[in-house]
């Protein structure tokens, strides 16, 4: 319900440290996964994506890890910066359509 959604899990990290945000997905048949960053009052911003035939993919300062055995996805942010403070959503796509199913989000707070 809405009261649950307002209490987002929060990860607080020190500036310069690495951050790991976790996500459990629901559909073992999902073949595509994506991470978005959403700042207050803005639309979700694409960070990185991965297909199910891979278990790791790297971008600039970010890495996505996929463990299909336990249906777990993680986002690693290296050298976390204050500008990384936001809510992070994972999303999965089933194999038959382009519909994305979003997780509940994690709030990342970066302490200066």
């Amino acid at each position: 319900g809405e009261s649950v959604g307002l209490h987002l899990p929060t990860l607080s990290v020190q500036e310069g440290d690495n951050s790991i945000i976790n996500c459990a997905y629901s559909n073992s048949a999902s073949d595509y996964f994506i991470w978005y960053k959403q700042e207050s009052g803005k639309g979700p911003q694409f960070i990185i994506d991965i297909r199910s035939n891979m278990d790791k993919r790297q971008g600039q300062r970010v890495t996505v890890l996929l463990n299909k055995t336990v249906k777990h996805l993680s986002l690693q942010i290296a050298a976390t910066q204050p500008g990384d403070s936001a809510v992070y959503f994972c999303a999965e796509k089933g194999d038959s359509s382009y519909k994305l199913i979003f997780g509940s989000g994690t709030r990342l707070l970066v302490r200066p």
């Binding site: 809405e2 307002l6 639309g43 694409f46 959503f89 382009y98 994305l100 979003f102």
Partner: protein
């Protein structure tokens, strides 16, 4: 860098009034999505278009919501009449035509800034 455009950014209306939101996807993107996002939750798909055709509107409350993409480019989402529970962020996203993106993955959805609706 190409972006999804949405307007208005904010809309305040009274219940029972009609509201409309507009979206212009990234140029060349054939697939367009409308999502609703309640504060603190992830976006939920309302309707998906492939060109001018509706692909999925299973979560669209059709008694009061309508969406169109007449020429397969920009799109309008309408609510009539608006209810208090419709207060939310309405997001538009687009993704490339399969085979044309130039990226490794064609499923990537790019979101616009959203329209924040408040129904009083």
């Amino acid at each position: 860098e190409a972006e999804v455009a949405q307007s208005p950014r904010y809309k305040i209306t009274e219940k029972s009034q009609a509201v409309a939101f507009w979206c212009d996807p990234i140029s060349g993107h054939a697939t367009l999505y409308w999502y609703r996002q309640i504060l603190g939750q992830g976006p939920e798909l309302l309707v998906q278009f492939q060109d001018e055709s509706v692909v999925d509107d299973s979560q669209l409350p059709k008694d009061r919501f309508s969406a169109e993409r007449l020429k397969g480019v920009d799109s309008t989402l309408k609510i009539q009449p608006a209810e208090l529970g419709d207060s939310a962020m309405y997001l538009c996203a687009s993704s490339p035509t399969p085979g044309t993106s130039g990226r490794e993955y064609q499923e990537t959805q790019y979101f616009g800034p959203g329209t924040r609706l408040l129904v009083l």
